[in-house]
């Protein structure tokens, strides 16, 4: 009897300790390092004093999302692109413009308008009446402060100051940017991606903290305010004084947005099917089956490809190694890969085959049809064999695989990170495609660290990657990734195959300085080189994974007639590509 009692008491204690642990205030220790001797100091930040009552986020007033966070939220600093928690730029901090990739238009946001007033001067007029979440007005001084932050090393738009002369506030609502040289593509890209931060909060802090600190709690101008976060989620609370309600007549319905950290795609699907998540931006295997099967799941399109395309998966070949240094060999690879099998079998038709140029459908206008007709490729193993035969790759020793023209054996590996399941299946297809035309190519699955080292260090043979090919306002971002220059010891930002061609590098640089209406000509030249030399083979477009359900929120965008056409996406960089407008269209479902 007493033993039982002990046990009950013990269990109660355990439960209690757990609850206490869960209720503790979040303490964040920040390690601050000065450039000289590293100094550690500890800043204890207690979370925003939350009203005691808000311990439950009612299901019908809360939008549950998932898909962005692959680890616990750790940063709310809009300068840390990619690292910041879901919604920091977009929900909390806002940009001067939004960009609508489907229409190819810039939408004035914090800015009322913006234009080049002379060849080297760009002027932005801010909307009158925008307030920070703490009630202070957002003025030109904040914009100037934000852009001047770019002078600090480590800020992602630091490059801007290589070609910008100065930025100044003409009056409270007018900002004037003066350039040494205009890089149109980079500039327009920054206009909708740099989030304006409040000068009055940031200027009191050290540069170190501004650039590398977690910036908790974040305080911006946007529709949502920081509520809380934990290992498992990020919680935003509606800002009832959001400027856009007054100035644009747009408001957001969900009182809370709870973004769940993804433990795995499997759990993400399980949660979604249980109705615990309204909008999932996860790659959910088999989602097509569920849509077809009449499950109450919605996607952008009702049938294949179901999703919009978000980026391009490339087959990178290491051009510094034999035989990948041979354009003929690379071209043969382009013809050899059975992309259709990847699209239908691996992805169950939720992705699309890529255009030979690799440009996303939203950039279709930049594809030079004539060049593609002349030099483009499609799956054709016979053609691949023919190219290889002509180039002298023949099976000399009769082992079923071709040898190089000089008679040396060809044994190649193609790699993707272990655990990236869809890519792992995909390269199995790529490898067997290559084997089918006589190239001895084997799939390899190092862990991500090994993958990344080989990829950036230039020691790999072949690999799949898509990191820098994301949807944006300009194909310049795409080409500057694909043809990153100069070639250095470590290439973490694209051109993994180390394709070295000064001509194309110059063209990409020229593209940056070319205004939109003149881009096509430059791009056409790039495409000719790209398709002739085939440094990397575009395979398929990864989807803008998005699936949602109507149980609690309606008014979702989709390809259907009458539905809005904003991107249903919570990933970083997509809130300012109209996802925030998608949010303003949502309405509570009739219960």
């Amino acid at each position: 009897m007493s033993r039982k009692l002990t046990f009950v008491v013990l269990s109660a204690l355990v439960v209690g300790s757990l609850l206490l642990a869960a209720c503790q205030p979040q303490t964040v220790t920040v390690t601050v390092v000065q450039t000289a001797p590293p100094v550690k100091e500890t800043i204890v930040i207690t979370p925003t004093p939350a009203p005691a009552a808000e311990v439950v986020y009612p299901r019908n007033e809360t939008l549950y999302t998932s898909g962005k966070q692959w680890g616990p939220p750790t940063s709310w600093n809009p300068l840390q692109t990619g690292a910041y928690a879901m919604g920091v730029i977009g929900l909390c901090y806002e940009t001067l413009f939004l960009f609508d990739p489907l229409k190819g238009e810039y939408i004035p946001w914090l800015a009322e308008s913006g234009k080049f007033v002379s060849d080297l001067v760009y002027e932005v007029k801010l909307r009158d009446g925008i307030q920070w979440q703490d009630g202070k007005p957002l003025t030109a001084a904040d914009v100037v402060y934000t852009f001047e932050l770019g002078k600090l090393p480590g800020v992602y738009y630091a490059g801007l100051w290589n070609w910008m002369e100065k930025v100044e506030a003409v009056d409270d609502l007018t900002v004037r940017f003066t350039f040494k040289e205009v890089r149109y593509q980079s500039w327009y890209n920054l206009l909708y991606s740099v989030a304006i931060v409040p000068k009055h909060v940031w200027e009191g802090r050290s540069d170190e903290e501004n650039v590398n600190g977690p910036n908790l709690p974040p305080m911006g101008s946007g529709a949502y305010m920081y509520e809380t976060h934990s290992e498992e989620r990020m919680v935003w609370k509606r800002n009832d004084n959001w400027w856009a309600t007054k100035l644009l007549g747009r408001s957001v319905a969900p009182k809370y947005i709870v973004d769940l950290v993804n433990p795995s795609n499997n759990v993400a699907l399980g949660r979604f099917l249980k109705g615990e998540v309204d909008l999932s931006n996860n790659f959910l295997p088999g989602i097509a089956t569920l849509v077809e099967g009449g499950y109450p799941v919605k996607t952008w399109y009702d049938d294949a490809p179901y999703m919009l395309s978000a980026n391009t998966a490339f087959l990178f070949m290491n051009t510094t190694k034999k035989p990948m240094d041979d354009p003929d060999f690379r071209k043969a690879m382009a013809y050899a890969v059975n992309v259709d099998e990847i699209v239908t079998k691996v992805y169950g038709n939720i992705v699309q085959k890529a255009d030979p140029t690799g440009l996303l459908p939203t950039w279709a206008q930049y594809v030079d049809k004539a060049v593609v007709d002349e030099l483009g490729f499609s799956y054709n193993p016979d053609q691949a064999k023919r190219i290889l035969d002509q180039a002298g790759y023949k099976d000399v020793d009769g082992d079923g695989f071709r040898e190089a023209p000089d008679g040396s054996k060809i044994e190649l590996k193609i790699m993707v990170p272990f655990g990236w399941t869809d890519w792992m299946e995909s390269i199995r297809v790529v490898a067997s495609s290559a084997q089918a035309v006589g190239i001895n190519l084997q799939p390899d699955f190092p862990d991500f660290g090994g993958y990344w080292d080989q990829l950036t260090g230039g020691t790999f043979d072949m690999a799949i990657n898509n990191f820098g090919s994301q949807m944006s306002d300009t194909p310049y971002t795409f080409y500057s990734w694909l043809f990153r220059s100069p070639i250095e010891a470590s290439m973490p930002n694209g051109n993994f195959g180390r394709y070295d061609n000064p001509e194309v590098f110059a063209l990409v640089d020229e593209l940056d300085k070319t205004p939109k209406e003149k881009m096509a000509a430059v791009i056409s030249k790039i495409q000719r080189i790209q398709l002739t030399d085939m440094p990397a083979v575009p395979l398929w477009y990864n989807g803008l994974w998005a699936q949602w359900q109507d149980a609690y929120w309606t008014g979702w965008p989709s390809a259907a007639e009458g539905a809005s056409k904003y991107l249903p996406c919570t990933w970083n960089g997509y809130w300012n590509m109209t996802a925030i407008l998608m949010l303003t269209e949502l309405k509570p479902a009739q219960q």
Partner: protein
């Protein structure tokens, strides 16, 4: 010194001859042993023969996607249209190989360290015990990651070696304890008092009592290796090439087989592992009863 122990092990193996016929008789009469061994044999035969009946390359996309079991695809197909039966047949084979190899290696190292440690006692024992403890508590996962990244391709052989090299401490401990308790038993003391040397005592007094024990230890290591391999496969640290039951499970989970209703992809490999390991354990108890005459009546 090590050679001496090896010799001991060699001679240990030759000991059970006089009791062989008796052993077979009691073994056959033991229900647990019969059941356990039958199930095991079934799987072993399947592992040997199964792959010949598997019509397809386990990784090739040959059939309809996510089809339930049918006459053509006996155990259905995966979400990509791979034949689950082919995977299952090849997977059972490699899972058993990992079990046997890993189990053997684990037992061998365990015997070496355990006998030596228990026989010598004193500081030698303390030292070996420390090594045992260190291996026991060293994070196997992290070690595996390092091995995984250094070896470009992880195969089932690597996995077996790894499992064997990390699982032996339990065997060593058990064997050490057994040697230990035998060492201080009265009949050993008697033998010692009669002036026989240590090796002689080990061979004639301790070893006969250990023989059956070693077999039991091996069976447990075998089962443990199968389970360990399944866990490693499941959390994504399994072989990067080939198929195993754990890898089939891993893939089924990653591609949400259960949520999509493809139970035929996830359930069989897990059930097979449970059956194999369960059969091993039952065999273990059965053998125990056969070896230990006192237990036979039960």
């Amino acid at each position: 010194m090590e050679r001496e122990v090896l010799q001991e092990v060699e001679e240990l193996k030759q000991l059970p001859r006089p009791i062989r016929s008796e052993f077979v008789y009691f073994a056959w009469r033991n229900t647990k042993l019969r059941i356990g061994v039958s199930i095991l044999l079934l799987f072993v035969i399947f592992a040997i023969v199964g792959p010949f009946f598997a019509k397809y390359d386990p990784h090739a996309y040959i059939g309809p996607m996510g089809a339930p079991p049918s006459r053509e695809y006996w155990m259905g197909t995966t979400t990509f249209g791979q034949d689950v039966f082919s995977q299952f047949a090849h997977g059972t084979r490699s899972t058993l190989i990992v079990g046997v190899l890993g189990g053997c290696l684990g037992t061998m190292i365990g015997i070496l360290i355990g006998l030596f440690s228990g026989y010598r006692g004193g500081l030698v024992d303390e030292f070996l015990n420390m090594i045992t403890n260190i291996v026991l508590i060293i994070p196997t996962l992290a070690v595996l990651i390092i091995i995984a990244t250094y070896l470009e391709v992880r195969g089932i052989l690597t996995q077996s070696v790894f499992i064997g090299c990390t699982a032996w401490p339990w065997a060593a401990r058990a064997i050490r304890a057994q040697t230990f308790s035998l060492r201080v038993r009265e009949f050993v003391d008697l033998a010692r008092m009669s002036g026989r040397n240590s090796l002689n005592i080990i061979l004639t007094e301790i070893a006969p009592n250990m023989m059956s024990y070693l077999l039991l230890v091996f069976i447990l290591q075998f089962g443990g290796a199968v389970l360990n391999a399944a866990t490693l496969d499941f959390i994504g640290l399994g072989p990067t090439r080939g198929v195993s039951l754990g890898l089939i499970m891993n893939n089924a989970v990653l591609w949400a087989a259960l949520q999509l209703g493809q139970w035929w992809w996830l359930l069989p490999p897990g059930a097979a592992i449970a059956a194999i390991v369960g059969a091993l354990y039952i065999t273990n108890v059965g053998l125990d009863e056969v070896f230990n005459p006192k237990l036979r009546e039960m």
